[in-house]
Subunit: 433 residues, 2 copies
């Protein structure tokens, strides 16, 4: 799943070892800190990580009488989430040195569950497109993707078993694909957005990164209040619908090959794949997502634009300018189209359990080219349906290429079950003799 240089940490394995007494929270924290120390100069996944504070918190967890579901598991926090005890910069110089008065609710829920907040991970500027410093652990000339750049890279580099992020266009699934890890964007609204800097309120979705599907299900359960862990541990062959989406022209040969490979592996493992063609109503859905994002961003960042405009990047400033020109009628029509597509998608998902589609156009681009294109993620974010990136393939440059599974709204358990089944199909390839 990753190169030998990047042994990702399984959250569920770590949790079992802690529960059995084979591993202390302090030892696990020390392992992660050493890993960060070894890799940070190259990868630059973190905006803040204070080893002494982390070890102190780990020792406190080792001395605690009760063990929550995340007991002792280190978690990276995208620097778009407020933290009361760590600087929170939202990827912008405007907030350099800012420390909020409170934790984002998701951070508080992680702490309540015994999770060890490891530090803050790099985000692009306000979760839009202006890149941060982070590089892809598989090849530092390449981007880890964005906007949850640091969270994806930290998990992929084995620095933490778990991390949280957000997706407004393609900020969980795309970096997960580029970094070769599991990314899980739940159904819109499943995880509280309280205390997360708002980029676009109809789109912003909190999600998670992990080395494997059970890890993503574990953290997703804590944050959503649902029990997703059983499904992820008991995979059964789902019915897959291969869906090229109206954006198929953007798929590189690497992504097309990944789709072919996934379909072959599914068939070899005894699964079922049929072709699903989205109805014509989906053709304008990508543009609708762009409309909603720009319209809402222009409102959400009004303070930053008006008071600190000189510290807003040109690219973001252009997006905000564009958003301010979109009429409310156009915006409302885009939301209306999304509502119609949600109904149409539910119809598509009666014969199949999940859709299978590209996670990204291909391997991670060079870092000099930006954070990559969310073209294969935007429509699902607008629809609010749950998505998982399943890693397991490699492109011509030796970089990871994942595949995206998409479920119906609120059918996250079935989606994670399908993702785990597909992961196992990838890990146990058929004999090619």
């Amino acid at each position: 799943m990753t190169s030998d240089a990047d042994p990702v940490l399984s959250a569920s394995t770590a949790r079992d070892r802690i529960a059995s007494g084979a591993l202390s929270c302090t030892a696990l924290a020390g392992h992660c800190l050493a890993r960060i120390e070894a890799r940070e100069a190259e990868i630059q996944a973190w905006t803040h990580c204070d080893p002494q504070s982390v070890l102190k918190a780990a020792r406190r967890l080792d001395g605690a009488s009760a063990q929550g579901p995340l007991h002792g598991l280190p978690v990276g926090i995208k620097d778009l989430f407020d933290t009361h005890d760590m600087p929170t910069g939202y990827g912008s110089p405007i907030y350099a040195g800012h420390t909020p008065a409170s934790d984002a609710a998701a951070v508080a829920l992680i702490r309540r569950a015994g999770g060890l907040v490891m530090g803050k991970t790099v985000t692009t500027e306000f979760a839009f497109f202006n890149p941060g410093k982070t590089r892809n652990p598989h090849n530092r000339a390449h981007t880890p993707g964005g906007s949850s750049s640091g969270s994806a890279a930290a998990v992929a580099a084995g620095e933490v078993p778990l991390a949280i992020g957000t997706q407004t266009a393609g900020s969980i699934i795309r970096p997960a694909s580029f970094c070769g890890i599991v990314g899980y964007k739940p159904t819109y609204g499943w995880i509280t957005p309280a205390g997360v800097k708002t980029a676009a309120w109809s789109l912003d979705t909190v999600g998670v990164f992990a080395a494997d599907v059970p890890g993503a299900a574990l953290l997703g359960s804590v944050l959503s209040g649902r029990d997703l862990t059983a499904a992820a541990q008991a995979p059964s062959p789902p019915r897959f619908g291969f869906c090229r989406t109206p954006q198929w022209d953007a798929a590189s040969p690497a992504t097309r090959a990944a789709c072919d490979t996934a379909i072959e592996r599914i068939a070899a493992a005894g699964g079922d794949v049929e072709i699903v063609t989205l109805p014509a109503v989906f053709d304008e859905l990508l543009a609708a997502q762009e409309t909603v994002m720009a319209f809402e961003a222009a409102r959400c960042l009004a303070f930053e634009r008006d008071r600190h405009g000189a510290q807003v990047s040109d690219r973001l400033a252009s997006l905000l300018e564009h958003g301010a020109t979109i009429s409310a009628d156009t915006y409302q029509a885009a939301l209306g189209l999304a509502a119609r597509c949600r109904t149409a998608l539910a119809d598509c998902l009666t014969d199949v359990t999940v859709l299978l589609a590209p996670s990204a156009p291909g391997e991670a681009p060079l870092a000099t080219e930006g954070t990559g294109d969310p073209v294969f993620n935007r429509i699902w974010t607008l629809l609010g349906v749950p998505c998982v990136n399943v890693p397991g393939m490699t492109g011509p440059n030796g970089l990871p290429v994942g595949i995206q599974l998409i479920g119906d709204a609120n059918a996250d358990a079935a989606l994670l079950q399908a993702a785990q089944w597909l992961s196992e199909a990838f890990e146990n390839p058929p004999s090619t003799a």
Copy 2:
């Protein structure tokens, strides 16, 4: 509409006088500050108002070359919205003295439009039920309602022509009814929630208070990016559907009389009222709102509960405890019921333009009894449909009693048009000779 002691300020009148040069921003600000000075000891609507800063900002507006749509209009800001230059306490001692790094997006949009931020108004604790210090301008023994207590009272007392608030259960419509002013809760999602302390993300709705419907439409237009002002200025007789709602048993004689009066006035003014009975699917909708609110609040306030539990009121702590016991299945079922009711409501709104229903159980209760019951607001908040309180009647204690109009989602312009028509019908009663 209000007693002689409480001359409410019309935003559109003030705006026209400023535009014509008859009134300067500084003079208007001075008038409002004098009014606050005169009434604050009794009403206590404000957590923060610094006259020198307000006058300085007003002078700057008087010297500005351009005039935005809110040019010079003083606006009260519920202390649930972040302000970068004023303390923001969210109604809780946990945040005493806290000043955020940024303005909530709605506040930034008000400033961008030339609005004069007058200060912060009292909210109940995190917009739930623990009352603040504010009293009803019509009788200081009574509550102004909650949670937007200070915003409603400040407008009703003529201290500001406009104010903003939020509604999670009944926090705009109920205080507007108790205070005898216009309250407008737009369609869910119309106004950006960025920078507003989250109480329950599926319910929280930013809205406005004003002396009259055109004022509410003006501020609503600025905040939502829609043009609602034309509709409010050109009322035409709508078709009203009188809807007792499944909560009718909670209506006091004062509220029942207000409904009768409203229906009489509509008929006398040449309008049409028919009876609308909500289908049985609505019977459990009130309980569904309570479920969604408690489930989400328990997540949103996780930091405050875990880190500052001693400073959370008993009543709020009970709500959070209760919310933590609600299963995800029960929560999901409540959201599912809301989705079905939205469809059913749209069917009800094919023959009539708006529904007419109680705003509150009756007149404002005594302040010692809390902030009143949102029983007539909860279902509409959960549905996300726009609501307006139209003032104009008085109960047996001489306190205001309003009537609630409810429109279909995104049909806010038609709703405001109906509200203005009804306001005019109230202001021009038929001859009773």
